[in-house]
């Protein structure tokens, strides 16, 4: 903190912006990682301070730091599984999470921690007691509150530099395209099959990929759909032939460990698609059965 103060006094308020690289460098310190290598890091407190004094957002400061090979300490354990360039890409991305129940709640927290720069969160529902067995955003203290309010609170608690757009409404054919505006990718965390088809159509219209998953009891499935892919019809059959909007979950319920595992699989796929612009799960379905347990990858085409 003292270093940052000194830098600001030296450069003067008017020259702050052009001297941000030097200020960041002066505020950084060397950290020796468990493998013995050294990294320049900068603390949350210092990036917040520099952001406040310079009028730049926290996210902009984080990106500026990374561009100079200074890692915000909050992301140091993302390295080197993610490169600094990867971290910048994630910070510059917007992910739209549709549905904030079991899958959505876990997805929101994981993506906030890894450092997605902007999120759109959508759910028209409120929490009730039956959500407590698996939905990480629900607690005994927020029953009857909107799921978007809980998501907002969680994201800001975990990573307050994230820009959030929240919609406490149900996605339908009317509003779907508008809700996906500016998103780089959509994450399907919905709780019924029909709504998934609505999201798929909107994502295709918006020209963005989507990661889709569903769970029931000890089982779950996940796939990745790009605008030109046949997508959900390969999994559920054509939309017009759907005999029911819900599946095996009506009988088996939803278990917390299946939900958090499948949500993690969704997050891994989202991050890889943002970084690599492709996915090995296109036209494939990964089926998880935690009873036996097995993971199977099915070729849908």
């Amino acid at each position: 903190m003292a270093t940052v103060w000194g830098s600001f006094r030296r450069w003067g308020v008017d020259n702050l912006k052009q001297h941000l690289p030097e200020i960041l460098l002066e505020a950084s310190r060397l950290l020796t990682l468990p493998d013995g290598s050294n990294r320049n890091i900068i603390s949350l407190l210092d990036t917040a301070d520099i952001s406040q004094r310079s009028g730049r957002t926290r996210k902009e400061i984080d990106i500026l730091a990374l561009e100079q090979s200074i890692v915000p300490e909050r992301y140091i354990r993302n390295m080197d599984a993610l490169s600094m360039k990867d971290q910048i890409t994630l910070l510059q991305s917007r992910v739209c999470i549709v549905g904030l129940g079991g899958l959505g709640g876990s997805v929101v927290e994981t993506l906030a921690r890894i450092g997605i720069g902007a999120m759109t969160v959508i759910d028209g529902d409120i929490f009730d007691e039956s959500n407590l067995n698996r939905q990480v955003l629900s607690s005994e203290h927020n029953l009857s509150q909107t799921k978007t309010a809980a998501a907002l609170e969680k994201i800001l608690t975990v990573n307050s530099s994230i820009l959030i757009q929240d919609y406490s409404e149900k996605m339908d054919e009317e509003n779907a395209v508008h809700l996906l505006e500016h998103a780089d990718i959509a994450v399907d965390c919905l709780d019924n099959i029909q709504a998934r088809f609505i999201l798929e159509k909107a994502a295709k219209k918006a020209g963005i990929p989507m990661v889709s998953a569903a769970v029931a009891g000890f089982s779950g499935q996940i796939t990745a759909i790009f605008p030109e892919d046949r997508g959900l019809e390969l999994v559920y059959g054509p939309e017009q032939s759907l005999s029911a909007t819900r599946g095996a979950e009506t009988t088996l319920g939803n278990l917390a460990f299946t939900v958090s595992l499948v949500a993690s699989l969704e997050c891994a796929e989202v991050v890889k698609i943002l970084l690599n612009k492709d996915s090995d799960l296109r036209n494939q379905l990964l089926i998880v059965d935690l009873k036996e347990p097995t993971f199977e990858r099915i070729r849908l085409l």
Partner: protein, 77 residues
Amino acid sequence: MTISIDLKLFATLQEFTPQSSDAHIIAAGTSVGTLVQQLGIPEKKAKLIFINNLKATLDSVLKDGDRLGIFPPVGGG
């Protein structure tokens, strides 16, 4: 003539799993649809069928050593 297949039924279909499902004996030339019927699985629940990790249909004919998986529609989140 009979053949042996490795059968795995998922989620709500697990209750239809026969004994020794990893070496389930069926008549040669049996289709998935016939087997589904024999096991008492409601046809509309046999939504996703895969043989040796490739998507198949009720009309697909099973061969000796095939691994058959049947998955019902799943929509929870």
